[in-house]
């Protein structure tokens, strides 16, 4: 479904990604783990052309999308719950969800909103509240819900567990499983390597902008190098 081929990208003089290749097949959950600053978010943002891949190619459903404009990516069926959540703080929960329908129109908005509220009942309770006044966990749920409103084929999640209480993290990872079960392919970027690898079919380890390791979730979980570097050796 998504194929990132030998992509390099940089922010001005600083090279952030070096020849990375990632493949995601339909129906998979694939995770990209790595330390802070390894280039995980950059990998997701190159799909939206900011920063643009300076070399290599990005294919989605067989089409080259390396040079597609940022606002056209969503229409292809790629939605993102980005780093920092980026919900619209002065809008209500419901308005935020409606903003997610841009790629598909508001025709099915009511039905899709009901599905999101089913996944996150908390959002339903807060539907009329200004999103900026909600807790971090609720904002994360909203960011995921908003991405789902566009009926994406591929959902990109950038550190959905960051800064959240363990119980909420657990719920969010459950939801990711449910989203996949409903037919959406998921590309999950995480620092929380243990949870991410347990959930994912396959994983990639990013170190200093390069793909260092890849394999099934299971393989990476038991890989000694991964255990030492990302799982604190203890789990």
């Amino acid at each position: 479904m998504l194929e990132i081929r030998d992509v390099s990208a940089s922010y001005g003089p600083i090279q952030a990604l070096r020849d990375i290749s990632i493949t995601i097949n339909r129906g998979e959950i694939v995770t990209l783990i790595g330390a802070n600053g390894a280039g995980k978010s950059t990998t997701l943002m190159t799909l939206f052309g900011e920063p643009r891949a300076s070399s290599g190619q990005i294919l989605f459903d067989g089409h080259d999308i390396t040079h597609v404009q940022m606002h056209e990516v969503a229409r292809l069926g790629i939605a993102q719950s980005p780093e920092g959540r980026r919900i619209f703080p002065a809008m209500t929960v419901e308005e935020n969800l409606i903003m997610g329908t841009i790629p598909v129109g508001t025709e099915h908005a009511g039905e899709d909103m009901a599905k999101v509220y089913e996944l996150f009942p908390r959002l339903k309770e807060r539907r009329g509240q200004r999103a900026g006044t909600m807790s971090g966990g609720e904002q994360q749920m909203l960011a995921i819900g908003r991405a789902l409103m566009g009926r994406p084929k591929l959902l990109l999640l950038d550190e959905p567990s960051l800064g959240l209480a363990p119980l909420i993290v657990k719920r969010i990872f459950e939801v990711i499983r449910e989203i996949r079960a409903a037919g959406t392919t998921v590309f999950l970027v995480e620092q929380n390597a243990f949870h991410a690898l347990k959930l994912a079919d396959r994983g990639y380890v990013l170190v200093n902008g390069k793909i260092h390791l890849s394999g099934s979730g299971e393989e990476l979980l038991t890989n000694p190098e991964v255990r030492n570097a990302y799982l604190g050796g203890g789990h």
């Binding site: 980026r86 841009i102 566009g150």
Partner: protein
């Protein structure tokens, strides 16, 4: 002080404030969405006054004015709105969009340049002399006795009513329609709006279109009222409207309308009760005071430096 003088100044202030409010909307929406002061906005207002005169002349030549004055005025107004909106859109495309992503100062300087370009373009194409249109709307509404009365002309009444209707429609658009939601999303987080599939360049164009359309309503109404203008009227009126936008809290739509009304009313009361010659000094002194004591304005949020 006589009550009727005070009441009359309130009426005048309401009329003036409606106009300031309409123009202030353009400043505040543009600032809200791309964080720049569009210094050419006052001149867009000036252009709309000329367009009003031109369209009125054309309709009079075609005989429409002779058949029905109200019809002619409505058509003039609609044409003026459309063409002025086109000017606003063009200014953004030509002078601001190419500078997006450069320093914050660059579009500001470009805006001052556009202001000069518009003034000189009108001066050259329309002449430097004062221009005017005949007053076509008769009638005065008068309340009170022989010597102590308050009056409002039909045109003034029209200014207040049309302004409030326009502001009402705009408020509805911003809060209830898809376009309005896209504007607000772009204002709150442009990059995220882009990721969600909103063509933010198009949204920004729409904001310039709307701002210019509001200025055009003001320009047409003022022309119907005073009848006379020159290529330089955009400067003082523009800065006054900008003051109104800052007073209300720049970036805030209700703030622009409120700021316009407060500025209009206080300026009118000052000139009626204290001194007419110093009314501009009063308005700008108010701007200075607001900037010192409440820089985020009455309804604005404190400025957070964007990274």
């Amino acid at each position: 002080m006589d009550w009727h003088i005070f009441a009359q100044q309130l009426v005048n202030g309401l009329v003036l404030g409606s106009i300031y409010g309409l123009i202030a909307i353009g400043y505040t929406m543009v600032y809200g969405i791309i964080g720049m002061i569009n210094f050419a906005h006052g001149d867009i207002y000036m252009v709309s006054a000329y367009l009003t005169a031109i369209f009125l002349a054309i309709l009079t030549m075609l005989g429409v004015t002779a058949v029905s004055v109200p019809l002619a005025l409505v058509v003039v107004m609609l044409l003026t709105i459309m063409f002025t909106a086109l000017y606003g859109w063009t200014v953004e495309r030509v002078a601001y969009r190419p500078l997006r992503g450069s320093t914050r100062l660059a579009p500001l300087i470009s805006a001052i340049g556009m202001s000069l370009v518009l003034q000189n373009y009108v001066q050259i194409s329309q002449g430097a002399r004062n221009q005017g249109i005949p007053s076509l709307i008769e009638g005065t509404l008068r309340v009170g006795g022989e010597s102590a009365y308050v009056q409002i002309t039909t045109v003034q009444l029209l200014i207040v009513v049309v302004s409030f209707v326009a502001m009402g429609i705009l408020t509805y658009i911003i809060h209830k329609t898809s376009l309005g939601r896209q504007c607000r999303a772009t204002q709150q987080d442009r990059k995220m709006a882009n990721i969600l599939g909103i063509n933010t360049d198009r949204v920004i164009s729409m904001v310039f279109l709307i701002g210019a359309a509001m200025a055009a309503i003001a320009g047409a109404l003022v022309s119907f009222n005073y009848g006379s203008f020159d290529f330089y009227i955009g400067f003082v009126t523009g800065i006054k409207a900008f003051t109104a936008a800052v007073l209300g809290g720049i970036g805030s739509l209700p703030g622009a309308m409120l700021g316009g009304l407060i500025l209009g009313l206080s300026e009118s009361l000052f000139s009626g009760l204290i001194n007419t010659d110093y009314k501009d000094v009063f308005a700008f002194a108010l701007l200075v005071l607001v900037l010192i004591f409440r820089p985020s304005g009455l309804l604005g949020k404190p400025e957070v430096e964007k990274v």
